[in-house]
Symmetry: C2
Subunit: 187 residues, 2 copies
């Protein structure tokens, strides 16, 4: 009884994510979204509500993929792994979508965006902290303040994202990441 959409909303959302990821929220126009998603403006509004809601949905879609360090039972291996692939090493230098959003909208008092940012950062920090406690307990890394070191790792990860967006090569970023991790082994 209903005519099915002749586009895949999930795929369209993924495409929107990548457009926002590249250009940010403000710099992305509806025309750009139309062509990128391959759908008309009406379909876009019927499906996603508005540009703003689409952005929030894209943020949520991005947030579903979490670094391995947030896995239950994560330890030293997962900490290393979190610095091993993904965001910062993107050859397209897109950085981390959350980092980009923090810079663009962090000062705005938009609760919908801010709570998502905060949730992401605390989730990452808690993941690091839990993994660090385990790594310390297992004797994989020396005794140290897990909370402080978790903050240190979050900061380093975000710094790598900025460096990536700034044009630093993946190889160089990896060596910096390695240097960051080395610091934990010698507190």
């Amino acid at each position: 009884m209903v005519r099915p959409k002749n586009f895949d909303p999930e795929q369209a959302l993924q495409r929107a994510l990548h457009v926002f990821w590249n250009n940010g929220y403000r710099s992305t126009s509806l025309s750009e979204l139309e062509t990128a998603l391959g759908i008309g403006r009406k379909s876009l509004y019927d499906t996603f509500g508005s540009k703003r809601e689409l952005f929030l949905k894209a943020l949520d879609a991005y947030a579903t993929i979490r670094p391995p360090v947030e896995n239950p039972g994560a330890g030293w291996e997962e900490i290393v792994e979190s610095f091993g692939g993904g965001g910062p090493y993107d050859p397209e230098h897109r950085s981390c979508f959350f980092v980009n959003t923090i810079i663009e909208l962090g000062l705005e008092d938009d609760p919908d965006v801010l709570t998502r940012i905060e949730h992401h950062v605390t989730s990452l920090r808690e993941g690091f902290e839990r993994a660090l406690r385990k790594a310390i307990a297992e004797g994989r890394v020396p005794e140290q303040d897990p909370e402080l070191t978790a903050n240190y790792l979050c900061t380093a990860l975000q710094g790598l994202s900025v460096m990536s967006r700034g044009g630093t090569s993946p190889e160089q970023l990896r060596s910096i990441a390695q240097r960051t991790l080395d610091a934990i082994q010698h507190p």
Copy 2:
């Protein structure tokens, strides 16, 4: 023979810098600049050329204040000092203007912006590297790869900026910065 401007261009530029610093380039409208600078649109264009040129001038004005680590003869003290004040600890959480610009315009292929970004980053990295060599030679820090550690410090500084914009308190940032510096003492 000429009627003097009844505003101070230098002060206006400083105000423009702070507006761009807060909101970024795209999100800043001419109307906003008019009210912030306290001058009309025509005066703005007569004095600064265009919105884009004003932005570049603001970037240059910001770039004139350099961290102490770039001073000639800088050593370990200046490295510490570079992590001690300024950008990241701004109670208004504006981050570093260059970091914001890297995120907003880093992927654009705009030579005027990109060269400024690159110049800033390399100048900072070289400052760290020089200071590190001196610190190592003076025995203030253990032997280590100065180039790698300089990159590590740049990354950390940019990470601190993002964290600041994300809402992290100055006190917490300072402890993270301390943790970052500690890592150099134990490579």
